[in-house]
Amino acid sequence: MKNLKPIFFFAVVLLALNLNAQNNAGLKLPEGFKATLFADTIGSARHIAITKSGVVFAKLMYPNKAGKSIIRLEDVNKDGVADKINGWANYGGTGIVVKGKDLYATSDNDVYLYQLNDKDEVVNPLSPKTIVKGLIAKNQHASKSITLDGDNNVYVNIGAYSNACQEKDRTPGSKGMMPCPILDSAGGIWKFSGTKENQVYGDGKRYATGLRNVVGLDWNTQSNSLFVMQHGRDQLNSFYPTLYNDAQNAELPAETMYELHEGDNAGWPYVYFDPYQKKKILAPEYGGDGKKEGGENALNPTVFFPAHMAPNGLLFYTGDQFPAKYKNGAFIAFHGSWNRAPLPQEGYFVAFVPFKDGKPNGEWEIFANGFSGLAEGEKVTNVRKVKSRPCGLAQGPDGSLYVSDDARGSIFKISYAK
C-alpha cells in the first residue's frame, strides 16, 4: 500500500492535467482554440507583459502572501503551465510593460524601470530607475497603466479621482465643477520620456484629456497611434432618479474605445456617450436631462460597448498563430460590471474587434467567456463570488494570448491549433 501512494498521486496529477486540457481551464472559446491554466493563485494579477523568450511578468495590485508584487513566470518544460515562479518588489500597482530588456512597472504614484539579463531575469530588483514620480493617486482610479510607442516614450493613464467631477463626489444634487479642476493633473493620458529619470508632471505633457479612467491601453503599430479604453461614469440612477431608472442606468453610458492624438479631449466629465442615441449627451451634473447633447469639440468613440463592463486590458494582436481575421485586431479584457445592480451584471469576458489599417472593420464579439465560473447563459449577480475577472492581456512570442485575472490570481494561456 505504501508503494501505491506515489502512483496514486501521479494518477491524480495526470487526471488534473487532462481535465485542464480538456475543459480549456473552464473557458469557452471559438472553434479551434484551446486554453491552459498557465498559473493560479499568484496574487491579484493586474497587467502582464511577456518577453521575446516567453517569460511572463505580472504586476499585482497588492503584494501577495510572500510579500512580492512583481511575479516572474516561466514555462521551462513548455507544457503551457508555468513551472518556475518567483517574484520581487513590495509595492502594489497595475502597469507593467516590457521592451527588449527594459521592464517598466508602476505603483500608484511612480513609474519604475528594471533591467533584465539575457535569461530575462531581473538584474536590479531592489534598485530600479525611477522614471516618473509623484503622480496623483487618491484611492479612486489611482492605478497607473502604461504603454510605450516606438520612440522611447511612455504613456501613463492618470485616472480622475472622481465619478463626475461634482463639487462633492458621488453626492446627490452636487453640481459639476466648471471647469473641472481635476483635469489639470488627472483624467487623462500623460506622455513622458521612457529613458529620463525622476520626471515629474512638468517634465511630461498632458497628451489627451477628458478621460475619466483608462485601465486598458495599447499602441497600435499599424496606425502608429495610441488607443485607450475608458471606464464610463457610474450611478446615473442613484443621483438622478427622476431622469434615469435602474434599467437605463444599467445601459448608460457606453464603455468607449478612443484613438488618441496629442491634444485630444474625450469629453469627461461634461458629456457621456449614449449607445442608443449614439450621441455625446450632457452629463446631468452639468445641466443635462438625458437628451441634451454636448461636447462639440470632444472625440467620438472609435468603438463602443455595453455599459459598466470595466475594460481593463487592451491588446492589438500582431501574432501569426491565430486565424487571419484576428491579425491586427483588438482584444479587450472586460473585468465585469458592478453598477448594473439591481439588474444582472455584464462583462467578465474577453472581447474581440476586427481592425484593418488601424480602423475597426466589423462588429465586436465575445472571444473568451466563462471566467465567472457560472453555467453558460447565467449572469453574475454576486460580484464577490465571481471566480475570475479578466484584467490584463499580453501576447506570447508564439502568438498565444495570455489573460490575467485579479480575483483568483490566475493567468490563462489561449492558443490556436489548426
Binding site: 491579484s44 495590485m61 497588492y62 484611492n139 479612486q140 489611482a142 465619478n163 462633492k168 463626489d169 458621488r170 453626492t171 446627490p172 450611478q235 440612477n237 442613484s238 458592478w338 453598477n339 445592480a341 439591481p342 449577480t381 454576486n382 460580484v383 464577490r384 463570488k385 475577472r389 485579479d406 480575483a407
Partner: protein, 131 residues
Amino acid sequence: MAKQLTILFSTLLFFTISANAQDLVKGKKIYETRCLACHQADGGGVPNMNAPLDGSSNLVGNNIARLVKIIRGGYSEKIALDGYYYNNVMTANPDLKDEDIANVLSYVRTSWSNKASKVTLAQVQAAKNKK
C-alpha cells in the same frame, strides 16, 4: 381581569413584534434605494472597490457610533477591512432621520449571514451626541 390583562399583553406583544418587523421592512427599502447599488443585493460589495456588509467585522461589531457617522457623513478614505482594501467613495446621507438610520442598520446587521443586534433609535441618538 385576567382576561383583560391577557388581551392587553397580547396587544402589546403584537405591537412590539409588528414594530420590529416594520423596522426591517423600512430598513430594507432604504437599503435598496441608497445602498444596494454599491454594496450589492447580496451585501457582498465589490472586491477592491465597495466594502462588503455581509460578514463585515466593522458592521457586526459594537461600535455603533462609527457606523452612524459613516452612514451620515459618508467615507472617502481607502478602508482596510478583514484583510482587504476598498477604495471607492461612500456617499453621505445627511438627510436620513435617526429612525431611518436605526432601521437600515438593523436591516444590514441582521441580513445575509449577519446575526448582530438590531440598532435602536436611542443608540443612534447617543452616537450623534458622542461625536
